[in-house]
């Protein structure tokens, strides 16, 4: 069932477009990496602030609010370039364990950020326990690192 969806995607106009010229895939990949830099940078800025490592003289509420705005931009860039990349090599990805690792981590990351971390951190940080803030930061960095690293390994295997 799922496999036929992946086969359909690869045979679709988008899949064919992504395969037609090798440069198309490479350019989309490069934009995907720019999205990674933006998403990763805003994750690190927010989470290292919560851990009191950087930007200590800027209120963490401000860093979270501003960082999250650009995190969403990064996430959109990654999704809008990630889907075409998948379309180009869909059946390969279907059989690649790193692809599924990445997708599960991505789902966990998105759910974590939008249903837990952001709703909690929208309130005044000084009313939250430091251990809560710090565990949010560690969980967030871990899950996004897993998403990025397993993504890189899709290309190494197969």
């Amino acid at each position: 069932m799922l496999l036929s969806l992946f086969e359909w995607l690869e045979a679709s106009a988008l899949g064919v477009f992504m395969k037609d010229l090798p440069a198309t895939f490479a350019i989309v990949e490069a934009v995907h990496l720019m999205g990674l830099a933006l998403l990763g940078g805003t994750v690190l800025a927010q989470d290292l602030r919560l851990l009191n490592v950087i930007l200590r003289d800027v209120p963490s509420n401000v860093v979270t609010e501003q960082g999250h705005r650009w995190f969403k931009v990064g996430l959109w860039i990654l999704l809008l370039t990630g889907v075409p990349m998948l379309a180009g090599v869909a059946t390969k990805c279907y059989h690649n364990p790193f692809y599924w690792t990445k997708m599960i981590a991505l789902l966990v990351g998105v759910l974590f950020v939008f249903t837990l971390k952001q709703p909690l951190l929208r309130g005044d940080h000084s009313l939250l326990k430091p251990v809560t803030l710090k565990s949010m930061a560690v969980a967030s960095m871990s899950v996004w690192f897993l998403v990025a690293a397993s993504g890189r390994w899709i290309g190494f295997s197969g």
Partner: protein, 195 residues
């Protein structure tokens, strides 16, 4: 004309000689042959984008007035300077190791050559901008949007680094490898040495 082209050829021969010497070393062979070592170095190189270019993007977006506009520009630039430089140091070390693993092909890669030029341009831009910002910071630090010159430098920085990412990614592709069916100027710019 002839002299400068002859000079360029001599430089290319010397670079190739160095690359061949490096490629024959056991260190280079070890890096190249080890699946996990090579892939982890490359993964580290890519992951560190989040630290180096991630911090750089936040600083540049602040200068453009579209992120952290409610925080003084110099606070963002000064506080994120160190994590960014740690990121660039890791990028530089892992980048050298990646070059060491595949020296001959990389030396003759047109993308690698463009990438190095863009890196030099980005470094000059950053250095000029840093001096300008330090000198002028008192006058516009609290403004949401920086003066025109700072905005131009920030936009230029983002553009140059986008170019570094694109050319860096393209090194992996063999479209213009020496010995292929390339236009003459590509072979010339890539420094393909006919043997």
């Amino acid at each position: 004309m002839q002299t400068s082209s002859g000079g360029f050829n001599r430089v290319n021969s010397a670079l190739l000689q160095f690359a061949e010497w490096l490629a024959a070393s056991s260190f280079s062979i070890g890096l190249h042959e080890s699946f996990y070592l090579y892939n982890w170095i490359e993964t580290t190189h890519v992951m560190t984008l989040m630290l180096s270019l991630g911090m750089l993007a936040v600083i540049d977006l602040r200068m453009l007035g579209v992120a952290f506009a409610n925080v003084p520009a110099s606070t963002i630039a000064e506080r994120l300077d160190r994590p960014m430089l740690i990121g660039f140091t890791i990028m530089f070390i892992t980048g050298l190791l990646l070059y060491t693993a595949i020296p001959v092909r990389t030396t003759q890669s047109i993308w690698f050559r463009i990438k190095v030029l863009l890196l030099i341009a980005a470094a000059i831009n950053a250095w000029l901008f840093r001096g300008y910002m330090l000198a002028a910071k008192k006058s516009w630090d609290l403004d949401a949007v920086a003066p025109r010159r700072a905005r131009v430098a920030a936009a230029l920085s983002l553009t140059l680094w986008a170019g570094v990412i694109v050319t860096g990614r393209f090194i992996a592709y063999d479209w213009f490898d020496c010995g292929g069916d390339n236009p003459a100027f590509i072979d010339w710019a890539a420094g393909c040495v006919s043997e």
